[in-house]
Structures are given as structure tokens and as C-alpha cells.
Subunit: 192 residues, 2 copies
DNA sequence: CTTATTTGATAACAAATGTTATCGTCTACC
DNA sequence: GGTAGACGATAACATTTGTTATCAAATAAG
């Protein structure tokens, strides 16, 4: 699982192994809640196999804000970083194989590597990039119609359209499942 | 104009005056465009008197993303910081008295004060805060109805409701002017 | 293999929102 | 003081989207 990243980090083999050993492998079924709303996040997950969604409760309906797939790391960033109660739920969609690392170990590693400016910059960049992605998603709610958002999703994140059940996609696009069905059927008819 | 901030900065009088002298006072009528869409931002503005909106063109209709009032600083942050073409237009709403400072002078000052960690942190915090505000605004588009957004606006930013023409508020809330009128009239009737 | 659950499509109706047009008021400017 | 333009309210109608209900297909669990 981790060997593929080995050459990206300037650590001694000893350090590398020490860090790898902080991770714990688990297998969970579909629809496993990894972090409840209101809970304080203590674990960061990396996906070996499977798929996770992050959502929050909005007047009884769930609104999906992000999807994650293989090799991505997942947490309620605000809750994990600042140890606030999480505003979101983290939940598997498919049966998944995950590796988790505790907040304590992450802090320890971050402390140890903070002298390596190359890594620090990469980390800050990662956080920024995620923030930008988030912004872009929100932005599209204001700018684009649901139909346009769906077309963009097909183009830019085909994995989501292919692997995720449609009602989660509807909740990600901010429309009802019925309306997403309508959108799809209109698109098909337009092509004819 | 600047004396009110004097005690917030740990500079010698000499440095303070040098920095103050980087600012240029201008008076402009209402609806003056301070930064065009696509232009690279070279000036940061501080408002002594008046009111500014930042908006972008979305399929021919303008969509206001932010309002600024007295004592706030205004720029297309992305364009000013990274010298990209601006995605937004910066435009006065009322006749305004502004102070501007050039990108060059800002860079010079930032370079000089980067050794003062207190100031650096305050600056980073400011940027973060603005990003959070932005996020919060976007978020409300997904979570809340236009009516709810309008009620929140009255509560949290009464200045906007009081000073800004209604069609700009409609464009800020993401609804047509007609619909904002409807929302207002429904609210009035409900109170009776 | 059988059954329960999940998923997705569709219809019928309701509610929200946009569009266009008209009118009245207010304000800036000559 | 008169006039053009900006601003806001309202009506009538169109379009988009949500809601509820029903059915069919796919999938998972026993």
C-alpha cells in the first residue's frame, strides 16, 4: 500500500518504517460511519480500496459535500486539525479497506518533519488545493444550473458518476433524486 | 484617515510616515470601475468614504460576491496577490473617497515587515478570515432559501440592506430583482 | 433460488423562481 | 422646475425544481 509513495519522501528507511507502522489496516462494510456529526475527529483515513462520502445534515436531508476514492486521505479537516466537533459525517459507500493513523501520531510526525521546507510547502499546498476545490464546487452552485453541474461532473470527475449511486450524486449536486433522473433523461433525448 | 490605526502598528514614526506616504487619495463618482474583468490588479484600495461592490459577469447577468464600506480594504485578492487577470469587476456604488497603494509598495512593505511575526500572523489570519467569510456566503446558497438568506443579511450585515440599492442585493443573494421584491412583500405581510 | 432491500425511472401535482412588461416614485442634473 | 434615468413594486405567465406515489430492475442476504 505505501511502497508506491516511498520515493516521494526524503526519509531514512528507519524513519519511513517508523511512520508506516503508525498506520492500522481495517476492513469495513458499506455504509460504515467513520465519523459522526458532532464527534471530534481522532483519525485520518487513507483509502486502499473503496469509496467514502462526506456529508452533513441539512434540515433532515443529507447533503454530500465530497467523495473520496483509492489512495486519497479523508477526514473532517476542520475537526481533525483543530479538534472541533465535526460538522460533517464521514461514511463509506462501498465495502472498503482503509488505513488509519491517530491524531497523536500525525502531530508527532508533523512536528518532526517541520524542518523540511520541501515537505512543509507540499503540505500547505495540499491544504490550499483542497480549499480551492471546495470553493470551486460551491461556486458552481451559484453560477451553473443543475444540468450544467451534472455535465461538468461527467467531464471532470467521471469516477463519481460511474461508481457512486445516483441519489448520492443528486445530494452532491443539490437536487432531488427525481430531478436528477429528469436531467439525465432530458440529456439522452437531446442527443437523439 | 490613517491616524486611527497608528497605535496598532509597532513602527517608528519615521517608518509609519514612509508607509503612509505610499497611499494616494482619490475621489470618484458612483459606478466608477476600479478594476475591469480580465485586468491585472495593480492597486489595493482603502475606503475612506463610500461603498464598493465586487461582481462578476455570469452569462450576461452580474453576480455580486462582496460589498465593502468605510475603513475596509478592497482588491481582487487573487489578481492582486498572484498578478493573474481578475475574474471580477471592482466598482463603486456611491461617490467615494479612496486611498490606493500600488502593488510595488505593498510588496516592499510586506518584505520589510516579514520579520515581525505578530504582524505576519495578523495578516495570515486576515486572509483566512476573508476566505472563511467567502465560504460561509457560498455555503448559505446551498443550505438556505433566498428568504432565509435575506433574513440573515438583515441580521448580520444591516449596513448592506440599508445602503445598497436593492437590485445589487438581489444579485448578491442570487435571485432576480422581482423575486427579492416578492420576498420582501411576503415578509411584511407575514408580520401583520 | 427466493425474498427483501436498494436503486432508478416516471407521472402528476405543488411550490419556488425567472421573465417580461407596466407603472409610480424618487433623484440627479441641466 | 422639468426631464431622463434609476429604482422598486406588482401582475401575468413560463420554467424550473421539489414532493409524493408507484413501478420495475438490479443487487444483496438468507
Amino acid at each position: 500500500m505505501f511502497n508506491q509513495f516511498r520515493n516521494k519522501f526524503p526519509f531514512t528507511d528507519e524513519k519511513w518504517n517508523e511512520y508506516i507502522n503508525c498506520f492500522n489496516r481495517i476492513e469495513v462494510p458499506a455504509k460504515t460511519v467513520l465519523l459522526e456529526e458532532g464527534e471530534i475527529s481522532k483519525k485520518l483515513f487513507i483509502i486502499e480500496k473503496g469509496c467514502i462520502r462526506v456529508w452533513f445534515n441539512n434540515n433532515g436531508k443529507d447533503l454530500t459535500s465530497q467523495f473520496f476514492f483509492e489512495n486519497q486521505s479523508v477526514a473532517s479537516i476542520e475537526s481533525f486539525m483543530k479538534q472541533f466537533p465535526s460538522p460533517v459525517v464521514v461514511e463509506t459507500i462501498e465495502p472498503s479497506v482503509l488505513w488509519w493513523i491517530s491524531k497523536k501520531d500525525v502531530d508527532k510526525i508533523l512536528e518532526e518533519i517541520k524542518e523540511i521546507p520541501e515537505l512543509r510547502d507540499r503540505l500547505i499546498n495540499m491544504l490550499f488545493q483542497r480549499t480551492f476545490d471546495y470553493m470551486k464546487h460551491f461556486f458552481s452552485f451559484i453560477k451553473d444550473s443543475p444540468t450544467q453541474r451534472y455535465l461538468d461532473l461527467i467531464k471532470e470527475k467521471p469516477q463519481i458518476v460511474q461508481r457512486v449511486p445516483q441519489h448520492y450524486i443528486a445530494s452532491y449536486l443539490g437536487v432531488s433524486t427525481v430531478h436528477l433522473s429528469r436531467i439525465k433523461s432530458k440529456l439522452v433525448n437531446k442527443k437523439d
